[in-house]
């Protein structure tokens, strides 16, 4: 019987260990916002497209265009599309130091929004399927959708922005 009592204590100890180990975390570590990743490119004289580093480009977007992302000495950029409507408007300045004096290129991205469940700790995020892009051509030559599926994979490049030489 003494041995059996020892077993019971063993049971309870094991149970407590498992209970502590199995407690479910309710901390969300995944960002809810999804970004569109892009790369600046340009065509050289032989019509070859290659990545182009921009020293000081800036994108304005969001409610009242109050948010921005800046590309400093990099060919890559990331922007956040709207989750409340199917089109998002972005303003692109090739040189952020001339915001006061220059006119930006206006880029409108059209996408289909799809709710994606992350987890019970984080809720949902919005995936986008890029449908079309419209743009002005002050400093931009053209824009291509290289991968229309905007999701939580961070290594994708969704847009190619061809800069005028």
């Amino acid at each position: 019987m003494v041995l059996q009592i020892k077993y019971i204590f063993l049971f309870l100890f094991a149970f407590l260990l498992f209970e502590m180990a199995c407690k479910q975390s309710q901390i969300c570590l995944v960002p809810q916002l999804i970004t569109i990743q892009g790369v600046y490119v340009s065509q050289d004289t032989s019509s070859t497209i290659k990545d182009t580093v921009l020293d000081n480009a800036i994108w304005l977007f969001g409610k009242d265009s109050l948010f921005y992302t800046q590309s400093r000495n990099t060919p890559y950029f990331s922007i956040v599309p709207s989750q409340i409507q199917d089109s998002s408007v972005f303003y692109f300045y090739i040189d952020s130091t001339t915001i006061q004096t220059s006119i930006p290129d206006t880029i409108t991205l059209y996408s289909q929004r799809n709710l994606h469940f992350i987890s019970s700790a984080c809720g949902f995020q919005t995936y986008h399927e890029l449908q079309a892009v419209k743009y002005s051509t002050l400093t931009i030559d053209s824009i291509y959708i290289s991968d229309p599926n905007v999701d939580n994979q961070i290594n994708k490049k969704h847009l190619q922005v061809v800069i005028k030489k």
Partner: protein
């Protein structure tokens, strides 16, 4: 069901069927289904009190089939809820599992029912999830709020486990086990998964470890 899961299911059947069938000739003198045990998972009852995210009530019944094999079934029901700044929803489910416990050691005396075992089970749960209200916090374009409609679905899983059962008093037994569980149809479950599926565990995960501590009452004639 994906091809991979069909293969897993086939392998399980290939393991179980000979275990059950071969014994019919070898142990023809052995009397089947003479002693059964029914019990309740005490650990889950304690866990229900220790947190407010879910409640689960799990029961087990087993019966002797061969000298070293018991036919086992778990059944029960439960509910869970999720409430945080991003999402709020509740779900309910009932479940059942069935399979075998294969014991390791010989009986030490007539009617000895204590043993260490490995187990293999198939599990099924029917889950009902209510409407979910969600909020996506977006300081850039504006916050999003909405309702994701309710749904019902079935979850299927396989369990591999190990544990032991011991008699503590006359027909009273304590049984403790740990189980590794893997969902057969994770895609069906994981779109707005319940925080807890009674019988399975955390619905957000394709594979989980679980444990039980059953208090059992046995009845019938011992072999």
């Amino acid at each position: 069901m994906s091809l991979k899961n069909k293969w897993i299911l086939c392998c399980v059947l290939i393991y179980i069927v000979p275990q059950v069938c071969i014994g019919q000739t070898k142990d023809s003198m052995y009397k089947k289904f003479t002693y059964a045990r029914i019990g309740v998972d005490m650990a889950k009852l304690v866990a229900n009190v220790m947190q407010n995210q879910y409640a689960t009530y799990e029961f087990m019944i087993d019966a002797n089939f061969k000298k070293d094999i018991n036919i086992v079934s778990d059944f029960g029901f439960g509910h869970s809820s999720v409430k945080n700044s991003f999402i709020e929803y509740a779900s309910r489910n009932y479940f059942t599992t069935f399979g075998i416990d294969k014991t390791f050691f010989n009986k030490e005396y007539f009617g000895d029912m204590d043993n260490v075992f490995v187990s293999l089970r198939y599990g099924f749960a029917h889950v009902k999830r209510q409407d979910a209200t969600y909020a996506i916090q977006d300081p850039i374009w504006g916050n999003v709020q909405g309702v994701y409609p309710s749904t019902s679905f079935n979850a299927h899983w396989l369990e591999f486990g190990s544990g032991f059962k011991m008699q503590v008093y006359h027909h009273i037994f304590l049984g403790w086990n740990i189980r590794f569980k893997t969902l057969i149809n994770p895609k069906k479950v994981q779109n707005l998964a319940p925080a807890y599926i009674s019988g399975y565990g955390n619905g957000n995960k394709n594979t989980v470890f679980g444990y039980n501590m059953f208090l059992l009452y046995g009845f019938g004639k011992r072999n």
